[in-house]
Amino acid sequence: MHEYSLVEALISRVEAEAKKRQALKVHALSVRVGELAGVDPELFQTAYDTFRAGTLCAETTLTVKRIPASWSCPRCRAAIPRGEVLRCTACDVPARLDDGADALTLDGIEMEVP
């Protein structure tokens, strides 16, 4: 259940940004979860709902966008179908994971400033 420690890191980051900008309130957060980021989006949302009480994010909505994992050949750009061996058979090179599929990213914060 590392989702709780991830939410803790998320809220600390949001609080630091809000403090820097002297925000009065944080309205919304948007987060992207890659399929291979090692994070369960539903558990992440549950952890957020549990952990945000008593923080600056207590009334902040969280939008989680899922990024599916996709692989392609770094040379010919051909897509490697899901579930296949991760190697381009035409170029005989290892496949490359497309951007964002292994990352957990805080995309943006919507906040109210004076």
Binding site: H2, W71, T105, G108, V113
Partner: protein
Amino acid sequence: MCTTCGCGDTELVPVELHEKILAGNDRAARHNREHFLEAGVLAINLMGSPGAGKTAVLEATARAGAGKKWRLGAVSADLATDNDAVRLEKAGIPSRAITTGQACHLDAELVHRSLHDIPWQQTDVFFIENVGNLVCPAIYDLGQAANVVVLSVTEGEDKPLKYPTMFLAADLVLVSKCDLIPHLDFDLAKLDDALARVNPKPNVIRLSARTGEGVDQWIAWLERLRLEKGLVGRIAGLAAHVHAPARPR
């Protein structure tokens, strides 16, 4: 403040960040990595299920590494007990336990703090034996030079398909307890196939800590990595800055 008419109303502003949520951990990991490289230490993050044989692999490494005059060191993480660190000490690997309580993984800061308690600068290869778990440890960079995942033959060949994030992160998979294969239905070809579907650069060594099978290959892999990282011939202990012992908390 509203600057259109000067009414003093608050404003709703979007702040674009596009920043990794683990950016703080990644910063601490970079710090650890710089320390290890400066001191000429090859740091290995050793992961795997509980009971996969991580500690037994290290005991076998100590026996084989003795011939090479390698100086080994380790920190060993578990939710409770220092049993593994005690075993490693007995095997001749100076070790410290990291007791994580309820935490299911190590992070870079925990590793950094533990380094204050052990003379890691005087080692050639330093193992970070992670909490037994195929999920959470995969996503935390600790500052290691490589991730090694120990998978025992009793766990089944489809583990990579079930835990793709862990096996994608593996620079090497050590298939442990290979001496048990004659007693099991385990098919090594099926494991190779499963791994190739989650990791584009799969790398496997088959090993038995009990019989010593594969240990030479494992040692050679570590030696190659030391060469690749430019760590061979460096004088360990010449870190750019030395850590003071941890203050009592």
